[in-house]
Subunit: 121 residues, 2 copies
């Protein structure tokens, strides 16, 4: 298994960093139901506008949110494209989590055997 | 679309944070080919042992790496289970990135229309 070279590693790091926060993931879940203004987003989350704006900026920089430039309320919309890239990245590991080696007992047994014999594959 | 309540939000945040680094993702890619000692991991990455150890600790805390406790070299092995959870999380958004709304032209047009009329859905 190899990582495809086409993946933009910096962009992927930014996507992962943006998603490493429960509030930001909740904002995306809300936007999956439709575009929303910052005010609309702040309401259900019981957060101050500056706090929610900060989270939105992180999501915007990561390309997960796009905002209308000329509309009066500059509503936020979900851009799911980076999530598709993230999903492709994770799917590379599907054969591993679906294989029998996913059963940690077998895996650890193999590791401990290697440790005793000093054998290297 | 709703986020399943079964997801452990803190654990998911830790997984995302651990993956927000190209070196750590490269370590996982290397471990997908088989278990490796810290020395073996450090070699191809041209990193010092303390630097690689720090990355391994982050991955271990996030449950993405398990280490044999009693083996002489304490080899590292990939645990793909958190990647399966991450994939499930991302897959929720597949209908969005596959839908016509993924075409940003349509989406932005809709947003700008809303902005002009002040209409809210």
């Amino acid at each position: 298994m190899t990582v495809p070279v086409a993946i933009n590693e910096d962009k992927l790091s930014e996507t992962f960093a943006a998603l490493a926060n429960g509030t930001r993931r909740a904002i995306l879940a809300r936007l999956a139901a439709g575009a929303a203004t910052v005010n609309e987003l702040a309401e259900p989350f019981d957060m101050t506008l500056p706090a929610i704006s900060k989270h939105i900026k992180v999501l915007e920089r990561a390309g997960l949110i796009v905002r209308a430039q000329h509309a009066q309320y500059r509503p936020c919309a979900l851009n799911a494209a980076p999530l598709a890239e993230l999903s492709s990245w994770a799917e590379q590991y599907r054969p591993i989590w679906e294989s029998r080696f996913d059963r940690m007992d077998d895996y650890l047994h193999e590791l401990q055997h290697r440790g005793r014999t000093g054998e290297r594959r």
